[in-house]
């Protein structure tokens, strides 16, 4: 990691990484878990929240091509926790490697999703609020906003890391499930907390369908019920100074999720840039595992009774 830290900070961060590593190993190999039905979306959100008390640990990678610069591999880790059945909270750590350049840590994000209606409706709204503190070297492209363009990433990491963003991001997650189809639409509103910066707008839309609508009686890894195929489209819509499609970038990304009975989920998505402002290819993949009863464990650690 190319992060510059003071010596005590580096020691503390090193200890934190070691403890995190031990915690992850313990979680992965000794913890009971349950499998969830994860959607194939990587950018778009549907209205389904994390089950209460469950922790989902996710790792994602994005390989991106870069005209006028070096290709990159951006990666992020998500810790997604179901606080209640109507509230999910999530913490992200981002980083990236630009080939023939460097590997910096690029920031963190904290997000909350709150379900607005108690019951299922034809369209189900969920409010999404995120705070992010990232550098301009952040290339995970979790969302494409405003006038984001491929050329923004062409500079070397040493230059990009000098610029830091503090952003508030609001999304309205609208999602509908009917006859196995899920259709989700996310209007996105982002404000850089610097007063001079305008509001930026974006969208993400996705549709997905399981390859089988009925489960087989036997446990199986490769049966069709474990696979969900989908497609996402996302891009920027300008900002308050110049709203609209000019100078924006857009992507179309077929995606697939493989939900294993052994509690792991794999996702693969290949995003194709739709105009000259877009990266030509964003190849993404992710792996995740859900740990049920994590909240109960934490509660007991703090003196609760079983």
């Amino acid at each position: 990691m190319a992060v510059r830290l003071s010596i005590p900070g580096a020691r503390l961060f090193g200890r934190f990484r070691f403890c995190s590593f031990l915690l992850l190993i313990w979680l992965l190999f000794s913890y009971r878990s349950s499998s969830a039905q994860e959607s194939p979306y990587i950018v778009t959100y549907d209205h389904y929240l994390e089950e209460p008390g469950s922790l989902e640990v996710e790792y994602f990678s994005t390989f991106g091509t870069q005209r006028g610069g070096n290709d990159f591999h951006a990666f992020w880790t998500e810790f997604e926790y179901g606080t209640t059945a109507w509230w999910t909270t999530e913490f992200y750590l981002d980083g990236q490697t630009t080939f023939s350049d460097s590997t910096p840590f690029t920031g963190f994000r904290v997000e909350n999703r709150v379900r607005l209606l108690d019951r299922e409706h034809f369209v189900n709204p969920v409010l999404y609020v995120e705070y992010e503190q990232t550098s301009a070297a952040d290339k995970i492209l979790k969302e494409v906003e405003g006038h984001d363009a491929e050329s923004d990433f062409a500079e070397p990491n040493s230059a990009l890391r000098k610029e830091h963003d503090h952003e508030l991001e609001l999304k309205l997650l609208l999602s509908s499930t009917f006859k196995g189809w899920n259709v989700a639409l996310n209007p996105i509103f982002t404000k850089n907390l610097s007063p001079s910066e305008p509001w930026e707008f974006a969208y993400a839309v996705g549709a997905s369908h399981p390859l089988a609508l009925k489960a087989l009686p036997d446990r199986c890894n490769f049966c069709r019920e474990n696979f969900i195929a989908g497609i996402e489209m996302y891009g920027g819509l300008g900002d308050t100074h110049s709203l609209g499609l000019p100078n924006t970038s857009h992507y179309l990304a077929p995606a697939v999720a493989w939900n294993l009975p052994s509690d792991w989920t794999f996702r693969l998505s290949s995003g194709f840039g739709l105009n000259n402002n877009s990266h030509r290819l964003l190849l993404r993949w992710g792996i995740s595992r859900e740990f049920s009863g994590f909240g109960e464990l934490v509660r007991r650690l703090f003196g609760g009774h079983a």
Binding site: F13, L49, H166, A306
Partner: protein, 147 residues
């Protein structure tokens, strides 16, 4: 705007863990004072109650439902559906008397304020398979073999 020092990240995470623990404690306290989860069964609309289960009495679908139950429901309701601290027993009289349509509606809509998430992300037929499994354990009080 000044950047948050890296060394604060572990402290932030620790603060999050404490908040989550408090949230869990608060939720369990709330659950104690809330009306029984079984009361949600009475709120199911009449039209939904009268829906028939396309897999009623089908042993193979009940076994498939048992597999789905183990994957998605057993963590809260227990491996034999007898209930845990997080979720109520599904073997009680209220459940035995509930129609398949009622169980399907509860699965689809959840009882969100009581901690039961919505499960409409499972395809409709898989939800009916789970209902078939629940009906079978409430009829025979023996869990069909989960392969």
């Amino acid at each position: 705007m000044k950047r948050l020092p890296m060394k604060l990240i572990p402290l932030l995470i620790a603060a999050c863990v404490v908040c989550l623990a408090l949230a869990q404690k608060d939720e369990s306290a709330q659950r104690k004072h809330k009306p029984s989860t079984y009361e949600a069964l009475a709120e199911v609309p009449q039209k939904a109650r009268s829906r028939t289960n396309p897999f009623e009495g089908n042993a193979s679908e009940a076994t498939a439902g048992g597999k789905l139950f183990e994957q998605h429901c057993a963590e809260c309701h227990g491996p034999k559906a007898g209930g845990t601290r997080q979720g109520p027993s599904l073997l009680r009289t209220e459940m035995q008397q509930a129609t398949p349509g009622t169980l399907f509606w509860i699965l689809t809509n959840g009882v969100v304020r009581q901690g039961m998430p919505v499960w409409s992300k499972l395809p409709e037929q898989e939800r009916w398979q789970i209902v078939t499994f629940l009906r079978s354990i409430n009829t025979h009080r023996t869990t069909p073999e989960i392969k």
